[in-house]
Symmetry: C2
Subunit: 390 residues, 2 copies
């Protein structure tokens, strides 16, 4: 048996960051920035008014001071002249501050009569000016790698970056194997069940930046598995589910080996999801997950999502863990790292009573995988533990 | 001035849950379940082996007991006969348990010679059987509303639900207004800036289940605004950015009113993002956001995302808040609810030093909006506060 971290190291050795492509900014949300991008301009490009009001020379501001209104500046429409002593320009939010002016008196502090304004008795002290470049300067960078969030997209727009260099999305082919499986919508025979893992894994991996294809179910025959691997061509990562251990009915490893996969079997010290197969087949990395629904999804979180992140250039690191207090005590853990389905309650994190790896209904209601380290001693309510959010 | 909660109430009054559509399960991830769905079958549909091993009558298990192997059961291939006393069936994980058998001895506990097996000296006590229906029963429901996560998709597959009733995605039209704006990739004039709000809001609203279109920038003319509203036709929600207050250059409200919008202006007691316009125009709800980049994005989080959630049938509730400890003290807050850009540090949540509503670079690096209630007193490091995650 190897540890989860050792298994991850071997999986990371199978993948590397994918190449870069340029996508329009409008399509860049959620993508991973592949190289630093540089602002094309200062923002704001000029000193700008932060309010609707009157632009004046700050030194002249005094209670009751009077100014002659000589023009107007609006956003997108600068006032071309200069503000001389005793003068003011009507100004609106976002407009460039006219030459000579260095302060904006908000309109609420002003009485206007014709082309003359009189300041109130206590004009506020704020200058209401945004200096040029106060948000960012030309040449300032957004640094890669970075998964682009909505505010990043807004910032890239503001930097005038119409096309964004991002990592290509990892293409994943998902193959479930087994004579017992039929697709949703089909009528299963009396000894059959519905294929669910590929559907759940597609949703999971696409949430993390992959593009996943669900291939037809491979039957427990050499021919059927060969066809499935053939259909997987073009993928960066092939994920098989089921048939990955070394039992009599587990053909996947044999067929993959015959097709040139330099493969390895790992018995990982974890619950659920012990057996794992991994290797490279041509241009693709391959990972074989156990067939139990919960095992497959947990291995998706623990192994496949970090592989996707590594392919996206985000680094070869385990899935980030959070911490929480236990809502109830837990018995000592055995020799395998245990990923317990759990809920986050106001009293803390609470492991579900039923942890069998066949129970998708429990997984669907869980909010976290509570991680019990190998040989973790019994824990009391209130103890701090780590978890992966679901 | 009205409170944020009062503004939200008025906005919720403008929208209602959208109609339902059926989508293929493979496309249902992230969508919102619109009505309860019912399992079409028990899972597992039969008592199944949880391990590779030998199916026996449990009462006969004893150290060194001997059984005759009469057949084999694999996943998808049941053994048709019954297991009589003294008999066993070779069985693999997921296979239906043959009649008569009620326990599976794992292969590691068995010595096999020809068609005979001998149990070891201490066979484990587990029966290694998954009872029929232990995951879920036929008729069991997944209850709506529910935003479908990866494990839900797997569970729906397992329930044999090939098409899923979900809420239609709210169609949002995003209109930025102002003569000062140009699109990313264009060359701005000396008094112009790049439109960024529509790009950031599209990413934000699509993250929350909407489909958003960025319309061409509307200029500060009646004709240009009329064209923009015309292009917005078919939207469930029209979002304008900029020109929503009552200043001299704010035409949006006037044009929307002329086009039949029953509008209201709200001065909301919040920072940033004070002025808000809202109403209904034909079949669409409309909301006008302030033009400052950070104000627009904060109002997107505080007002527009909850409107989208309401349209998706998830209820009319404010954006959910988290709690954290302050990493550093904060001065007393004024008469407006303040959404401070903040980072989550190991020591707690830390408000950024610079909070001006024009600073997109600060927003892009922030991880949270720290919420200061109206007239919140000064707070010390370690005090518990609420925040919206970004």
């Amino acid at each position: 048996m190897i540890t989860v971290d050792e298994a991850l190291e071997r999986l990371f050795a199978l993948v590397k960051p994918l190449d870069t492509e340029e996508v329009p900014l409008i399509d860049a949300a959620g993508r991973v920035l592949a190289r630093d991008v540089t602002a094309m301009r200062d923002q704001p490009p000029f000193a700008a008014s932060a309010m609707d009001g009157y632009a004046v020379r700050g030194a002249e501001v005094a209670p009751g001071a009077i100014f002659a209104v000589i023009g107007e500046a609006a956003a997108g429409h600068a006032y071309d002249g200069a503000v001389d002593p005793g003068q003011t320009v009507r100004i609106f939010t976002g407009a460039p501050l006219p030459k000579g002016a260095d302060r904006v008196i908000i309109q609420e502090d002003v009485a206007r009569e014709g082309d003359r304004i009189t300041l109130g008795q206590s004009p506020e002290s704020n200058d209401n000016v945004r200096p040029a470049g106060c948000d960012f300067r030309k040449g300032q960078t957004m640094t890669a790698p970075r998964r682009l969030r909505p505010a990043d997209i807004a910032l890239l727009a503001s930097m005038n970056i119409p096309f964004v260099p991002v990592r290509r999305k990892p293409q994943v082919a998902l193959i479930s194997t087994g004579d017992e499986l039929v697709m949703p919508g089909e009528t299963p025979g009396p000894d059959q069940i519905i294929a669910s893992n590929t559907f759940g894994l597609k949703a999971l991996l696409e949430d993390h930046g992959a593009r996943a294809r669900v291939l037809p179910i491979a039957r427990d025959t050499i021919r059927s598995l060969e066809t499935a691997f053939d259909l997987a061509q073009g993928a960066d990562l092939i994920v098989t589910i089921g048939g990955a251990s070394v039992g009599d009915h587990d053909l996947v490893g044999r067929v993959a080996g015959d097709l040139g996969m330099d493969r390895a079997f790992y018995t990982v010290a974890m619950r659920p999801g012990k057996p794992l197969m991994a290797g490279r087949m041509g241009d693709a990395a391959m990972i074989g997950l156990p067939g139990n629904p919960v095992s497959a999804m947990v291995c998706g979180h623990v192994f496949v999502v970090p592989m996707i992140s590594a392919m996206l250039g985000l680094g070869a690191t385990p899935a980030p863990r959070h911490t929480a207090r236990l809502a109830a005590p837990l018995p000592a853990n055995g020799p395998r790292e245990h990923y317990m389905r759990a809920r986050i309650t106001p009293r803390g994190i609470l492991a579900e009573d039923r942890q069998d790896s066949s129970l998708l209904s429990i997984l669907a209601h869980a909010e976290a995988l509570l991680v019990r380290p190998v040989r973790d001693p019994a824990r009391a309510a209130g103890d701090q533990v780590e978890y992966l959010p679901l």
